[in-house]
Amino acid sequence: MTKKRKLVIAVTGLNNIDSPGPGIPVVRALRECDDFDVRIIGLSYESLEPGIYMKEMVDKTYQIPYPSAGTEMLLSRLLTINDVENLDLIIPNFDAELYNFIKISDKLKDAGITTFLPSVDQLDARDKINLYSFGQKFDFKVPEDKIIYSVEKISEAVDEFEFPIVVKGKYYEATVAYTIEQAEKAFHRLNAKWGLPIIIQKFISGNEINVAALGDGNGNMISAVPMRKLYITDKGKAWAGITLQDESLIELAQQFIAVTKWKGGFELEIMRTKEGESYIMEVNPRFPAWIYLTAASGQNQPAALTKMALGEKVEPFKNYEVGKMFIRYSWDLITNIDQFQQISAFGEL
């Protein structure tokens, strides 16, 4: 029996809530990889992220500064954590923090901490704000949109797209609006939460399908697993899903990786119309919260990313199990006030 490689891996996205972050599913996949013996370091932003208290998943958690605090604060905190933990790899799992992690990745490397992330250019190209022009450039079907900075501009978009329209926040959240009043309300709510601009997108009707994929940074696809949401929460999140067999979706992910030379994990959100057309609705630049399904169906993407990050050659996966399902559930994790106090007051647990 070969000896398992000991690794210390830090992950963010421990908010395993009703709109879950991918952190815990990433950890679960890493822990199931037979090649590693992992110590997991959680990186949290808030004291009530459930993953902090899930000791069978996360060995130790440190709070880190919010992305708005900037790269210097983040780097300083991570280097302090590294002095204690001797990190091998960090896997960030939030869109909003990626820019900072990419910016400091060279300095992390100097400190012996590896990352496996897309470049800032790659990140920007698939940004919601640029997605339509990205689609035009590389011949992907993307719904038409308008980027607006004032509520008055909604009517112009409506003239062009007709109702319903999709009103989307800069980072997260989207609302389908059927009237100008609904659209304006959504504009103000999303502006207050995520800031400007707001994206007004043409509504595409169909089945929502997602693809979790992994690129090696040289234009090669290591893995792609398509999943259809079977049950969607009122926040638009999958509560149950099933892996699909569809070559065209795999090819779409392959094409995306080929033109972007994407490095790392990502998720394509696709709307499949009744006519069989696949529209890319969004490209999330990190693993999705359902990423454990890739491991369960035979393509452990977090483990493959880890191997590539550590310089190992990883052969592309060829098969996965079709019809593999996930169903989320909620669970009341019990802890004590001293634990909560520890993470709140000292920033580590």
Binding site: N207, I209, R228, L230, G241, I242, L244, Q245, D246, V322, G323
Partner: protein, 96 residues
Amino acid sequence: MTALLLCPQGKLKILAMKLKSNIATSESGFVFNPATGDSFSSNPVAAEILLLLKDNNSLKEIKQIILSRYEVESSQVEKDLDDFLTHLKENNLLEL
């Protein structure tokens, strides 16, 4: 989940049909389309027909088998089969 049911009356209009090769069926009448993620449940007679289709029986053969197993008028079987195949087609389960 959509129920596939045999309807009561009619004539067989569709002459040759084949289930898509990737469609999974079970003896209990559960149908899964791995390309779309859709799943269906069917009643016992529909389940029999699905398995007969899966085994590449022609519609004529299926009709004869159903007639030999159940006390039913030939015209009724034709209508039921026709309706059922229309359901399958609408749900994207048949080869075009």
